[in-house]
């Protein structure tokens, strides 16, 4: 039983990590290429989830909803980049934080105004319902396996995009030297809009996939955003590979910590106290990991800027 529990938790950690990766990839791309701290990234996660829930409710198809979430989040991202974000590239980080924080408030209240005060219903598609028996006697929900697969697929696709295509080459060039690729005749503002919309679409995809497991409600993006920042700091700002490794590390640490720490403590100080202290320690675990990594690698595991 104990091995089955550990295996199940490892899968849970993997699934959580993959979802964090979708958020962190966009965040780290935007920071790496444009040097912008985007607090409103969590709002695209929310936009994706609401678009998916609304379209799924109207058409009865989760898959149309999923497509809508990509379109809606990318469109919102592009629109916001052109109207607001573009003015912030030259400013310092404090101005960016203030402006994107304002965007969180504006987007949250707009979504609330559009969809009302109560959480929306969004369920997983029937094709992916139920649990499946894995080798070793583990029962695992099919939908979570699908999230893992989708996340890994996106990871591979992103790698191919950045390493193998012309757009990817420009993105890498933009990370290395912004002025120079402008001088070489690359339309830098279109590039920025594309990168921003791509990041937003990934966040929207994560929101839609996770929205089916959780509650689709206003403010759902902010807790994930905080973890995504932890991920990119651990992984090294600007590095997609770092975001991937960091996300898996955070996902597995958080999930395993939540069950192992209270159990270890229970052996030491008795179950009654262990429940409370263990829960408190578990919620600290990822920050402890972050602190340890930063102590030895101050720029994160794979810093893009060397």
């Amino acid at each position: 039983m104990q091995t089955a529990l550990i295996v199940e938790q490892l899968l849970n950690g993997l699934q959580f990590g993959v979802m964090l990766f979708l958020m962190a990839a966009g965040l780290t791309l935007i920071f790496g290429v444009m040097g912008l701290i985007n607090l409103a990234h969590g709002s695209f996660y929310m936009v994706g989830a609401f678009a998916c829930a609304a379209v799924a409710a109207a058409t009865g198809s989760f898959w149309l909803g999923l497509a809508a979430s990509l379109v809606a989040a990318a469109a919102a991202g592009a629109l916001i980049e052109v109207t607001v974000i573009r003015r912030l590239y030259g400013r310092d980080h404090l101005d960016q934080v203030l402006a994107t924080f304002a965007l969180i408030l504006i987007l949250s209240e707009s979504v609330r105004w559009l969809f009302g005060d109560f959480p929306l219903y969004l369920n997983i598609p029937p094709q992916l319902g139920g649990a499946v028996a894995l080798p070793g006697g583990v029962q695992y929900p099919v939908y979570r396996l699908a999230i893992i697969a989708a996340g890994l697929l996106v990871g591979v696709a992103l790698y191919a995009l950045i390493a193998r295509t012309r757009l990817g080459m420009r993105i890498r060039a933009g990370e290395s030297d912004r002025e120079m690729i402008g001088a070489l005749g690359v339309d830098i503002s279109t590039l920025y809009t594309i990168v921003f919309a791509l990041g937003a679409a990934l966040a929207g995809l994560a929101g839609a996939m996770v929205g089916a497991l959780q509650s689709v409600q206003v403010g759902m993006g902010e807790p994930v955003l905080i973890l995504a920042f932890v991920v990119i700091v651990i992984g090294g700002i600007g590095s997609i590979k770092g975001a991937f490794v960091g996300a898996l590390l955070v996902g597995v640490t958080d999930t395993l910590g939540r069950i192992l720490l209270p159990q270890l403590l229970a052996a030491a100080i008795g179950p009654a106290q262990a429940a409370g202290i263990g829960a408190a320690l578990a919620s600290m675990s990822i920050y402890i990991v972050m602190a340890l990594i930063l102590a030895f690698r101050p720029k994160g595991l794979y810093s893009a800027q060397g």
Partner: protein
């Protein structure tokens, strides 16, 4: 001079007829209208305003402000309402941590506070106040009723789960006060946690006969959806908050059959409740939640007290509130010595009504005339 005299005479004549010239009651409603907790606050506000409307009283004036679920903001709003709006009564707060920040200060300045939801234990016990009336419940109550139900049903092994914050520990303590069987798991989760895969894996491995969880709002929605998909078939129960009308639609059919405990249910059989549920549906086009019902009772109580006594005469007004002479949607309603309700608690089951909407139905009574564990510590 003659006109002044005439006016004076007229005023005297009208004054004799009483209520028409009574001072209007000014009410400050502080509640959560934005962000993730907005569903609860909106229901509370709508329930309260409906009660004032149905009471027909023209002398109650309500100012409403959004606390965004932030204690510091709630305190600022309360100060502003007391100092510049000159309110006589405050009400509306949903969350216990906000209530603890606002209530002691407000009652110390001689204002009345009527709670529509939050019922933290200090305010029921040692820190109770003559001007603080809780029309909803003491925080432990719903959980005590669930523990009592699990005990009388003879459930042998329970797995219990709540967020790691004061109301969460109160919840599990309330449950354990009445449940004496074996606890195969007692887990505290992070407040606002959205992924429960780790906890569900523990539940699967625990061999429990039933699961009790207190996860209000979005947390409960996430837990129930993931639980339904996990293939763990162990039945779940919880306090009414975990299966309240505001979250049922978002949980969907996964909630069907879940047992939960509350002091009120939309099908509770009394004339006032029928009137309330119908009026709420007509006015707002949705079913009321427990938060709306409690706020409706608060509004009705306030209107009844305002019709009997002038709010400027604090002693008379307080006596009118304490007498609780109003028709409650909960059927019978009385205040204990600590100004918290003495009421019945029911076991409800999530069902689909004739229109296919998920809602709750009473299946048993857990407590009759139940009070709270802290009343003895209150020196009123």
């Amino acid at each position: 001079m003659r006109t002044i005299l005439a006016a004076g005479a007229l005023a005297l004549a009208l004054g004799a007829s009483g209520i028409a010239f009574a001072e209007p009651v000014k009410v400050g409603m502080i509640t959560t209208l934005s962000g993730g907790g907005a569903g609860l606050g909106v229901d509370a506000r709508d329930g309260f305003m409906l009660a004032i409307k149905l009471s027909g009283s023209k002398d109650i004036e309500v100012v409403t402000e959004d606390d965004a679920m932030k204690p510091e903001l709630a305190v600022q709003i309360a100060d502003k309402m007391i100092q510049s709006d000159k309110v006589d009564v405050l009400t509306g707060i949903i969350w216990s941590n906000l209530a603890m920040a606002v209530v002691p200060n407000a009652v110390a300045q001689g204002k009345f506070y009527l709670s529509v939801n939050a019922g933290p234990s200090p305010l029921a016990g040692a820190k109770c106040d003559k001007n603080y009336f809780n029309v909803a419940y003491q925080n432990d109550n719903f959980h005590e009723a669930a523990g009592n139900y699990a005990q009388t049903e003879g459930i042998k092994k329970m797995f219990i789960l709540a967020p790691n914050y004061p109301a969460g520990t109160d919840s599990l303590n309330g449950f354990k006060r009445y449940y004496k069987g074996e606890l195969v798991g007692e887990v505290y989760t992070k407040l606002g946690q959205t992924d429960y895969a780790a906890e569900i894996a523990q539940i699967r491995a625990s061999g429990a006969d039933s699961v009790f969880f207190f996860l209000p709002g979005g947390m409960g929605i996430a837990f129930m959806k993931q639980y339904a998909q996990s293939g763990v078939g162990i039945p779940v129960m919880g306090p009414g908050f975990s299966f309240s009308q505001d979250v049922l639609a978002a949980i969907g059919d996964a909630a069907l059959g879940a047992k939960n405990t509350a002091s009120w249910s939309p099908d509770l059989d009394n004339p006032k409740n029928k009137e309330f549920v119908e009026a709420f549906k007509t006015e707002y086009n949705r079913l009321p939640s427990i938060y709306a019902a409690q706020a409706f009772d608060t509004g009705t109580l306030l209107a009844a007290a305002a019709a009997k006594a002038d709010v400027k005469d604090a002693d008379a007004f307080r006596a009118a509130l304490a007498a609780a002479e109003f028709d409650s949607v909960r059927g019978k309603f009385k205040f204990n010595t600590n100004h918290h309700p003495i009421q019945d608690f029911y076991v409800r089951e999530v069902v689909k009504n004739d229109e296919g909407v998920l809602t709750n139905k009473i299946v048993a009574t857990s407590f009759t005339d139940h009070t709270d564990a802290y009343a003895a510590e209150c020196k009123l």
